[in-house]
């Protein structure tokens, strides 16, 4: 091997001096090749030239060092831990919302109607309305013959006797009940009272007192309301 004629420092200085008077420093050319060099995409000749320049250029050395470092570091930045509660936060924010449009709900209509928050209110309203309507209907009185069950007949004479006694007792009590109701129905000539129209003993007493009291003296044309 040939011995260099100049010491290394002097050789570098000479190279720089020659480049300064000819092409200028080769650093810009290296910058153009640096990424391909780091990615291993250069052929051996170009790679060798880059290595030679790096051996004598500290600034290009640190640039290529930084490129190698970022090449290893950047993919690790793709994911950053958002904190321990993030998943729960997202689940709370999403699953409380209405189901997405594409997810078909196959539950029947009655089930969906039953599981609305208003169902209790609606049931209470319907119940109250039914009670009100029912109170206007007359109280049904079932026919007497229905009150003795048919299965008593096959039991023989003693059962027939008991049956006839029961029928008579029933008939008596029904007659008594009808007797107690008849005078009221006859005097008032009004339809049978409904549950709604039945007034308390106190209200009946007040009504009787009102009817028996003489009418108040009329003041001119003014019609005074009944106010006992």
């Amino acid at each position: 091997m040939n011995e260099p004629l100049l010491p290394p420092e002097a050789g570098l200085d000479l190279t720089r001096a020659i480049l300064a008077r000819t092409s200028g420093p080769a650093c810009q050319r290296l910058h153009n090749l640096a990424c391909a060099f780091v990615d291993g995409e250069l052929d051996s000749a170009q790679g060798g030239l880059v290595r030679l320049h790096l051996a004598s250029c500290p600034s290009c050395q640190s640039l290529v060092g930084a490129l190698i470092e970022t090449r290893n570091l950047l993919p690790a930045l793709a994911q950053t831990n958002p904190g321990p509660w993030f998943t729960q936060r997202v689940m709370r924010a999403t699953t409380r919302r209405p189901a997405p449009q594409n997810a078909t709900d196959r539950r029947p209509l009655w089930w969906k109607l039953m599981h609305r928050p208003r169902i209790a209110l609606e049931a209470a309203y319907l119940g109250a309305a039914a009670g009100l309507v029912g109170s206007y209907l007359p109280i049904p009185t079932p026919p007497v013959s229905l009150r003795v069950p048919a299965f008593v007949h096959p039991l023989g004479a003693s059962a027939q006797r008991v049956k006839s006694q029961v029928v008579q007792a029933e008939r008596r009590s029904t007659l008594a009940l009808q007797q107690s109701l008849r005078p009221k129905a006859a005097t008032s000539a009004e339809p049978r009272p409904t549950l709604w129209q039945r007034s308390s003993a106190w209200a009946r007493a007040r009504l009787r007192a009102f009817r028996s009291a003489p009418p108040p003296p009329a003041k001119g044309n003014e019609a005074s309301p009944a106010n006992p």
Binding site: H31, A34, C35, A36, S59, Q61, S62, L63, V64, G65, A66, L67, I68, E69, T70, R71, L73, L74, P75, A76, L77, A78, Q79, T80, N81, P82, G83, F86, T87, R89, V90, M91, A93, T94, T95, R97, A99, P100, Q101, N102, A103
Partner: protein, 184 residues
Amino acid sequence: MELSQALPLVRRGDELAWEFFVRFFQGRVFGLAYHYTAQAEDARDLAQDVFVRIYQNLALVPDEPGCLPWIIRITRNACIDHLRRRKARPPLWDLPAEELFDLRATDQNPEEAHLAAVRKTMVHRALQELTDLNREIILLKEIQGLGLEEIAAILEVPLGTVKSRSNRARLELAQKLCAAGMGG
């Protein structure tokens, strides 16, 4: 469980598959939002909004390999809207490195892990000094690992621009890091 297996269930609205999906992508969505906003709390809110948007469009979640670019596009749009509303360049990072990067997740010893976290923070800061286009190309190509064509579609710039800018952006980042004392 593979993502490709979970995606049909996610589209059907299965809650468990959705939870798996959120866990699978939350680090990426938050990481990307953090790169854009530079504020952890803003990034968390944005990441949550992104998942709510995805949940409202579950039927549109594409299969792999289109799933990640689709999510990144939604995240980027949410971040750009947020920055437009804020009408300011992102401030410098609001959290120390130790809080940002989970040290327990690495198998390094605490000293090495701290050093790695400091280096990551330096890279974050250097990224903020790049031009918007160069920063986004680094974010999408080098960090998220998207292809040049996917990046061109997301950024709505010609493919040639992304190709020519790609290495220039890397070089610019490396120069910033050299100036900050890294790489020597």
